[in-house]
């Protein structure tokens, strides 16, 4: 198991390095000289040169990369090109907001997906199974902002159970925090729930018809114990979908953050992209990749635990 963990860790770090390096060089090569964008076409050459020197862009690209990289590994992503505020601070304030919503949505997707998926898989063609099929078509087709607006109209404006906008830090009020992330999390989770449920349902149905399950039944095992065995064999695909869902939700959070006015990394990504603030975009890229690597690592661990054969692959 230790070799398995070390192997996964090393591959995660390699992925982090490759994507980070690629992002740095691609961003700089794509934008070239950012000073006209930062200062405008009317800026004089001397002003542009002064800004290039201030930003350190007059140095060779490899030197710039090493400077950025050597600081980034210590968590220092430099300062924004627009407002010269430390990027680590800006990202640090926003990560908890996005993670609160995305992790809650993933948790909802895992729990509800499990319950619905197993229930549907046990009675294929039943009412719940047909509802799941219908819901998966509808919820995949509905755009996230529309779902968000419907939730706001109903639960925030009509019933006034939850706030329509804003984020409350758990330091300020745990209840307020829960209320502020409930609707955004549901908006994000709805399509993920049916996706996980659908995967589990199919896996469950497939495994439940295998010979070993028939043997288990013949040996008189309880339905509960058989369900556990089936679930263990059916879960890898659903777990993979769940991990992919987390990564997808991280990207899809932009729309939900805008509609619910949440100060997360989605809205920061949007504003930094609009103004071409490369240091912020690089910082966000690294943070996102770290999340992806962590999630993939955890997924590998769980898959290795569920199916020991995976460890040897």
């Amino acid at each position: 198991m230790l070799t398995f963990i070390v192997r996964r860790l090393v591959s995660g770090i390699v992925l982090l390095l490759v994507v980070t390096c690629g992002s740095f060089f691609l961003a700089h090569l794509a934008i070239g000289d950012p000073t006209p964008g930062l200062l405008g076409n009317s800026a004089k050459p001397a002003q542009r040169q002064a800004l290039r020197e201030k930003l350190g862009l007059d140095r060779p690209l490899l030197v710039q990369f090493w400077d950025w990289f050597s600081h980034a590994v210590r968590g220092d992503f430099g300062t924004s090109w627009r407002n010269f505020q430390p990027i680590s601070e800006q990202i640090g304030l926003r990560v908890p907001v996005t993670l609160s919503v995305v992790l809650t949505a993933t948790l909802l997707a895992a729990l509800l997906g499990l319950v619905i998926g197993v229930a549907s898989g046990r009675r294929p063609g039943g009412i719940l199974d047909r509802c799941l099929k219908f819901a998966s078509v509808v919820l995949f087709a509905l755009p996230g902002f529309w779902v968000s607006l419907v939730l706001i109209m109903w639960f925030a404006i009509q019933l006034r159970w939850f706030p329509a906008v804003g984020y409350v830090s758990p330091d300020e009020s745990v209840l307020g925090w829960l209320r502020s992330i409930t609707l955004p999390s549901i908006a994000l989770a709805l399509s993920a729930i049916v996706m996980v449920a659908e995967q589990l349902r199919n896996g469950f149905f497939e495994v439940a018809n295998q010979d070993f399950v028939r043997t288990l039944r013949a040996r008189g095992l309880s339905t509960r114990r058989i369900t556990v065995h089936v679930l263990r064999n059916a879960s890898p695909a659903a777990l993979t979908v769940l991990a992919l869902t987390f990564v997808g939700l991280l990207g899809g959070a932009i729309v939900v953050e805008l509609v619910f006015n949440l100060p997360g990394i989605g809205t920061l990504t949007q504003s930094a992209s609009q103004i071409g603030d490369i240091p912020i975009l690089l910082g966000l890229t690294v943070v996102t990749i770290v999340f992806v690597v962590i999630v993939n690592f955890l997924l590998d661990l769980v898959l290795g635990w569920v199916n020991p054969k995976v460890r040897d692959q």
Binding site: G37, L38, L93, L149, M153, A156, R160, A164, V165, G166
Partner: protein
Amino acid sequence: MSAVYDPLVALDKNARPIPALAKSWKYSADHRELTMHLRVGVRFSDGEPFDAAAAVANLRHLKTGTRSGEVYRAVESITAAGADTVILGLRKRDDALLYFMGLGRSWMAAPAAIRAGTLAGKPVGSGPYTLDTAGTTSGSQYTFGKKRRHWDSGRYPFATVRLFPITDQTASLNAMLSGQLDVNYANPMNIPQARQNGWNIASKVATSVGIQFADHTGKRLKPLGDIRVRQAICYAFDGSAILRAVASGAGTVSDQLFPVGEPGYEPGLDRRYAHDLARARQLMAEAGYPQGFPVTMPMSQPYQQLQPAAEQTLGQLGIRVSWQNMSQPDYQKNAPTYPMFLAVLALDANPAATVVNRITSRSWYNPDPSVNAFPELSRILGELGTAAGDRRPELIRRLDTALVGLAWQNVWYQADNTYFSVRGIKVTPITGMMFPTLRFIQRG
């Protein structure tokens, strides 16, 4: 800002400068020296006293600021005279200085916090409220608690003020509908919904919308140096139709740079360029451009709703536009390099401020003021620089008439800023302030 900080000068509901931390002021006979007498007994929330030394430190700090510094361009020296008097020495007469100070360029902060550079994260002022950090979530919600003692406490009726920075207008409307907000900077399109909910609606002209001519002398685009071409463009646009289509009618059709209903505005001038396409085409032909001419203009997301009207109307005169797309921040940086561009620009309730902001000072929307190339303008502006107070209204009227006659800018209409507030709260909008300060949000 107005929760935590007190200004030296405030504005009344007619945008006239009134005392705040500066109890009174007086200009010297030649208007080159402004002496301000300060309120005594005021303290910042960190315990530091507000006195002349603190005011000097603040004014010097404001003078070095990128935006605030523009207001203090004419200020040459800032000195303390005793414990409660400050003297501003001016390079030249500046009749807009007090207005701009009242507009939000004279907030006083604790000098220690200025020196430490910590104001962005921890504001320290002498204002009626203090930031409640426990009730604040950065970027989402800021809570301010009212101080027990404040020199102007009676003006601020709310024990707690919560501020939600919301950029998306649908989100802010939803927040108001759900009861999270009591006051909202609103989209005029939602006025029927506001009426349905029984909210108070307050509106006032705030911006001029139209085409900014940045090249009055034809240096970069020869046709624009011809007054007939500029006038033709003014005649061609149907401001009333654009106002209805783009801004739900929330505004007033006007050709002027001076805000409707404020000093300097002349109602009679608004029909000068009543929509007349035939007249526009005739002027283009007289100027020697019957087939029009090509022009390149910048384009950015906020102006996209105006783009079809601009393209279609200019096209009717044969003016063929090539649009160059760019991001919003780049628009302001690059617009000055184009001879003309679409612009939505803030209006000022103070005529002297309008003269400075829109005519004589170099800025992104006025890269080449070029008033010297127009003798009449130059003469009136020269007289304004020395005229006594009672002569100024007449000179401003003459200036306004001259600007409209020269088709200085192509203003389609003046758009309103609209605010919704729940029953029991009243907002008084001020032209020049996008968000009225707390003194303009009252019970009522």
